[in-house]
């Protein structure tokens, strides 16, 4: 079997949602800018790119119609490079990488571009509909509740208090602000410029370094009303989790991932591709995994996905130097750390989506680039990236520097 390597990873800065700097860009435009950056950084002959696998969640309107192919054409890649839009909700960006990895490992082409985009300020989350939420037979039989309720179920299950989740959020902000200030993100970030080469956005702009326990303490829990009163999702949650008397509503905008715009791309190829093009592999993709879990609590996927990827790779949790566990909601990384007994010093060391935002289709690829930069910066070797996924799924990837 072939090995699959990461040759490069590039991302846009994350723009605040409504009123943010990237709001003026179309999904195709931002995608194309990142694809072009990847090409120019690596002097890439795009004829060699077997496919562009592009994660994107809300595939309607400007993000519809196989955005991947549109982006490839807009970026002026070789006509022979097709494009594949994929949707694994929050893990789409990582799943794109994983799909590309396994294509390469299976010798179906020597190089892929994988990543994704989400313009959440332009194409609202949920505007593509979702049968699992709205089709009564499916919703009732699968005990559907919205993700925020799931996050609160998870907090209830792990006995997390409001202080626990808020403290995690404050730390995420602190780490992200420090990393941005120290320039740790610079290697991967492609500043976004307009057609006149005027800068639109250079750095992540969602971070709020001033966040404190006090400032978060003033926020009302976001999912309490829909849980307890109308329409009463908690009653549905209890059907699945009857051991709880009630759901503890602790999540709010300040300890959940932010709604932002962004795109990211990773260049993946086999050994021969690097030799031929004189590119140096930055990391080997050791193993990938994906899994389905209970759709009601929905966000526990990182646990079995991680167990699975460790098993595939023959590694143990102790073999991993750094973890990126997507901060969809604070209860997700906290439950991950509790479950595996991993200390916070190894997890999301430069902050996460609570501080920087979670551009759904792009995040997985962004986390991978962030953690790869950090491995290189600190001279460490292995990293595991994992994300929880809507409707009860999870995805994981282990990389190792070469």
């Amino acid at each position: 079997m072939e090995e699959a390597y990461i040759y490069d990873a590039v991302r846009s800065p994350r723009g605040k949602g409504k009123g943010g700097s990237l709001n003026e860009l179309t999904a195709v435009a931002l995608s194309a800018k990142i694809l072009r950056q990847l090409r120019s950084r690596n002097d890439l002959n795009t004829e060699e790119v077997e496919d562009v696998i592009w994660g994107n969640v809300t595939q309607v309107g400007e993000q519809g119609g196989c955005l991947a192919r549109s982006a490839v054409i807009a970026a002026d890649y070789s006509e022979t490079t097709p494009g594949l839009s994929i949707n694994r909700f929050c893990a789409s960006g990582l799943e794109a990488v994983n799909l590309a990895t396994n294509q390469v490992k299976g010798s179906a082409g020597s190089a892929y571009v994988a990543g994704g985009v989400e313009m959440m300020s332009r194409v609202p989350m949920g505007s593509d509909g979702a049968a699992i939420a709205v089709d009564p037979t499916l919703a009732m039989n699968s005990y559907f509740v919205p993700q925020g309720i799931s996050a609160d179920i998870l907090a209830t299950k792990y006995g997390l208090s409001r202080d626990d989740v808020d403290a995690f959020a404050v730390e995420s902000q602190k780490r992200a602000a420090a990393a941005r200030k120290a320039g740790y993100f610079k290697n991967s970030i492609a500043p976004i410029k307009d057609q006149n080469h005027l800068t639109i956005l250079e750095e992540d702009e969602y971070i709020r370094p001033e966040t404190t326990m006090q400032s978060l303490g003033g926020l009302e829990p976001s999912f309490k009303n829909m849980g307890e009163i109308m329409p009463g999702f908690d009653a549905v949650a209890l059907l699945k989790y009857p051991e709880f008397e009630k759901i503890n509503h602790v999540h709010h905008a300040g300890n959940s991932s932010g709604i932002v715009d962004g795109a990211a791309a990773v260049l993946i190829g086999n050994k021969a591709f690097g030799l031929k093009n004189n590119l140096k592999p930055r990391a080997r993709i050791v193993a990938t995994s994906k899994i389905g879990t209970d759709p009601t609590i929905m966000l526990t996927g990182p646990l079995p996905a991680t167990e699975k990827v460790l098993k595939i790779s023959g590694m143990s949790i102790k073999d991993i130097d750094l973890f990126e566990v997507n901060e969809a909601f604070a209860s997700v990384p906290i439950s991950f750390m509790e479950h595996f007994g991993v200390e916070h010093e190894k997890v999301n060391v430069n902050g996460g989506a609570i501080a920087m935002g979670h551009p759904l289709g792009a995040t997985g690829a962004m986390l991978l680039s962030t953690v790869l930069d950090e491995l290189e910066r600190t001279g460490k070797s292995t990293a595991l990236t994992t994300l929880c996924v809507a409707s009860g799924m999870g995805a994981s990837t282990i990389i190792e520097r070469v």
Binding site: G126, S127, G129, A133, V134, D135, P136, T137, A139, M140, N141, Y143, F144, V145, P146, M230, P231, G232, F233, D234, A235, V236, L238, L239, P242, E243, F244, E245, K246
Partner: protein, 725 residues
């Protein structure tokens, strides 16, 4: 040919189709009836002379709905694939109503206006016929009500009612009609669009005729048959509709615990139907309706709550030889909560009541309670101030017994104490009118034992009302060994007069209902003592289909009552008493002054208004409670359900309960037992008796003899039969 429908044509050439089932007091739709109706509609629509059609009823009520036995018959008599026959039958109904809605049998004809002119009770298919018409005229009389209550008996409107109401009102608007199954008086029905005009009953036909003569072609086109129709409030994938549909599933799922297949089918019909055109939506509705009719829990629920409940209300157990009782005045002795509740129900149904207590102040206090109850009715506009005053005038408060000689029925509702009751009966008996009946409202004391104080014990019977009387519609009538037929007949006639549902049982400890409820509560306590998470106990009870968990129920009834019952049972049974091991928890709760909701502290915590806040945190630290135990949710559910259902089966086996029909109706109305399945016996049938025996064997091995399956169930399992054939 069935003569349920007739047609006459007036001088203006308007055809009047009248529904009048001569052999029934209420119009219900049968297979033959639908054919007859279809024939007359087609005739009128294909007659060029006819200007329009009015559909009305020859009775005071338009219709009670579908004849459920028709559907059952259809299912039974349609060979190896009943679903196909049922589906075809429903589609035939859809085609008929669609012809009415289009006003023509096909495009070679011009559309004719069709008006609905009805009053009285109009439910189910009666309403669905109306919905297909172009204009609905409904009586404004006080007793006239229209709606689609199918969901309340385990079904949903399956002849276009679901599809039409959803398209008329949108999901949110339709929910009170379809999901809550409410019946609406004329004005309210008009305001939500269920009817178009509310008129005096005697003007119904004339107004309908006037409208037919003036109707324009546009009046005959339903919104969904026009170009550009939009689903009101938004279809599922429109921004407006999306959250409503998401919310509806969650709301229904949470409220019904996912147990009611009919609620799921109803919502799915609306959702799937909203995504397609009208004709496809009807087909979708028909497929789901067929599915519901093929689902045993749905039809069992309908059987219990529709067929068997009404049979009991119509006097199924009444001894036919005894002539009709003509009750005018009754006496109620004891004016506490139960006594005043019984008195109140009695005056509200036209009786005079002598309300008697030890002193006049107590009796007056009882009357004040009645006034409070009546005030509630005034507040809900069910009663005027005037009517209330008049009704209260029918209660006479007394502190002596002489006057009871004018009553045909005397009901005792004093404190549950055998000696007290015995001495009271001795005082009552001399004053009793010849042929009058004495009844006790006891909920625990054996009736035969009570009757020992009387010279003539044949005229004594138990009439066990449930608390609170104004809300609980079940009445358990308990025959002692001596009760005569006359006593039973009077008790049944009285319950009938109160519009409540009777079941008749033989005498034994706890009769039927309490006999089953007490093990349910005890099982909850046992689980608590085993260290099972209290929330898991309470939630599992609700999730298996009980209205309240055992610990909550205990808080409602009060710990002292439970201790009392345990003590009495112990005294009465002596050596035969089986220790449940739960008394220690009750005693501990009592010592800690956590006696229940009335005291604002029990298994739950309460605020100062008595609102339940949460389970008491001290429960896990009680001496009688073991360390946290691991148990599957399934086992918790099974224990809570089987402990009641097996007790019900034992009551049947011991001939305390006289029929499974009464066991199911009583179970549902008495303590909300497994409503979704049609009651405890229907539930056992649904599980299947072989499975029941296997599961009970497991529970028996682990938890003891209370789970040993009764012989009657083993026999059913052995020969592969069910309680209901």
């Amino acid at each position: 040919m069935c003569s349920d429908f007739t047609k006459e044509v007036d001088k203006d050439n308007i055809a009047l189709i009248t529904w009048n089932c001569l052999d029934k007091s209420m119009n219900t739709m049968s297979e033959g009836g639908l054919k007859a109706f279809q024939k007359l509609v087609v005739e009128a629509l294909s007659d060029d002379e006819i200007k329009g059609i009015i559909i009305t009823s020859g009775k005071a009520d338009f219709s009670g709905g579908m004849d459920l036995s028709t559907l059952e018959g259809l299912k039974r008599n349609s060979g190896p694939n009943p679903a196909s026959k049922i589906f075809e039958y429903i589609m035939e109904g859809h085609r008929l109503l669609r012809i009415i809605e289009l006003g023509k049998i096909d495009d070679t004809y011009k559309s004719k206006p069709v008006a609905f002119a009805g009053g009285g009770i109009c439910a189910g298919i009666g309403t669905e016929i109306g919905l297909a018409c172009h204009r609905r005229f409904f009586s404004g009389s006080k007793r006239s009500k229209i709606g689609l209550p199918e969901i309340l008996v385990g079904l949903f409107p399956g002849l276009g009612g679901t599809t039409r109401v959803a398209r008329m009102m949108g999901l949110m608007g339709a929910s009170s009609v379809l999901l809550e199954g409410k019946l609406f008086a004329g004005d309210k029905a008009k305001s939500i669009g269920l009817v178009d005009e509310v008129v005096a009953e005697h003007e119904l036909i004339q107004k309908a005729k006037n409208w037919i003569l003036s109707a324009s072609p546009e009046d005959l086109i339903k919104p969904w048959d026009q170009k550009g129709f939009k689903f009101p409030g938004g279809a599922p994938y429109h921004p407006g509709g999306f959250m409503s549909f998401v919310g509806a599933s969650a709301l229904v799922n949470g409220k019904t615990k996912g147990l009611y297949a009919s609620a799921k089918a109803l919502l799915s019909s609306i959702y799937e139907g909203a995504l397609v055109d009208f004709e496809s939506a009807l087909k979708i509705e028909a497929r789901w309706f067929t599915k519901v009719l093929m689902t045993d829990t749905c039809t069992n629920m309908a059987r219990t709550l529709f067929l068997n409940k009404s049979a009991l209300e119509k006097g199924k157990q009444r001894p036919p030889a005894v002539e009709e009782t003509n009750l005018k005045q009754i006496s109620v002795i004891g004016s506490g909560m139960m006594g005043s509740g019984i008195a109140c129900a009695s005056i509200m149904n036209g009786l005079e009541v002598l309300l008697i207590d030890q002193n006049i102040e107590a009796a007056e206090a009882g009357k004040a309670k009645i006034e409070t109850l009546l005030n509630e009715s005034v507040k809900r506009k069910k009663l005027s101030e005037e009517e209330k005053t008049k009704l209260l005038g029918n209660v006479k408060t007394l502190s002596s017994l002489e006057k009871i000689s004018g009553s045909d029925l005397v009901i005792e509702a004093v404190f549950e104490d055998l000696e007290l009751k015995h001495s009271l009966y001795k005082k009552i008996e001399p004053y009793l009118k010849k042929n009058a009946i004495l009844a006790s409202n006891t909920s625990t004391l054996p009736i035969t034992k009570l009757s020992e104080a009387l010279q003539d014990s044949t005229r004594f019977i138990g009439i066990h009302f449930f608390s609170p009387v104004e809300k609980m519609n079940l009445v358990e009538i308990i025959k002692s060994k001596q009760s005569n037929e006359k006593s039973l007949a009077v008790a049944l006639d009285y319950v009938g007069l109160l519009k409540k549902t009777p079941i008749v049982v033989n005498d034994s400890r706890g009769f039927y209902a309490n006999r089953c409820i007490i093990p349910y509560i005890n099982e909850g306590l046992r689980m608590l003592s085993e260290g099972i998470e209290p929330a898991l106990i309470e939630n599992s009870a609700k999730h298996v289909g009980m209205p309240v968990g055992p610990l909550q129920l205990l808080d409602e009834l009060s710990v002292s009552l439970a201790l009392n019952v345990a003590k009495e049972t112990k005294e009465a049974l002596g050596n035969e008493y089986e220790e449940t091991g739960t008394e220690s928890i009750l005693l501990e709760m009592s010592q800690k002054n956590r006696l229940g909701r009335k005291e604002l502290a029990g298994f739950y915590e309460y605020d100062d208004k008595g609102r339940r806040l949460k389970l008491w945190e001290g429960l896990r630290n009680l001496n009688g409670v073991s360390k946290p135990a691991n148990i599957s949710t399934e086992t918790v559910k099974n224990r809570l359900a089987y402990v009641q259902a097996l007790e019900a089966a034992r009551a049947l086996e011991e001939n305390i309960l006289l029929s499974v029909e009464e066991g199911d109706v009583g179970g549902i109305l008495g303590w909300g037992c497994l409503i979704w399945a049609g009651g405890p016996f229907s539930w056992l049938d649904h599980v299947g008796h072989e499975n029941v025996v296997a599961e009970c064997q497991k529970l028996f091995d682990q938890y003891g003899a209370r789970f040993s399956p009764p012989k009657v169930i083993k026999e059913l399992a052995g020969n592969g039969r069910k309680f209901y054939n």
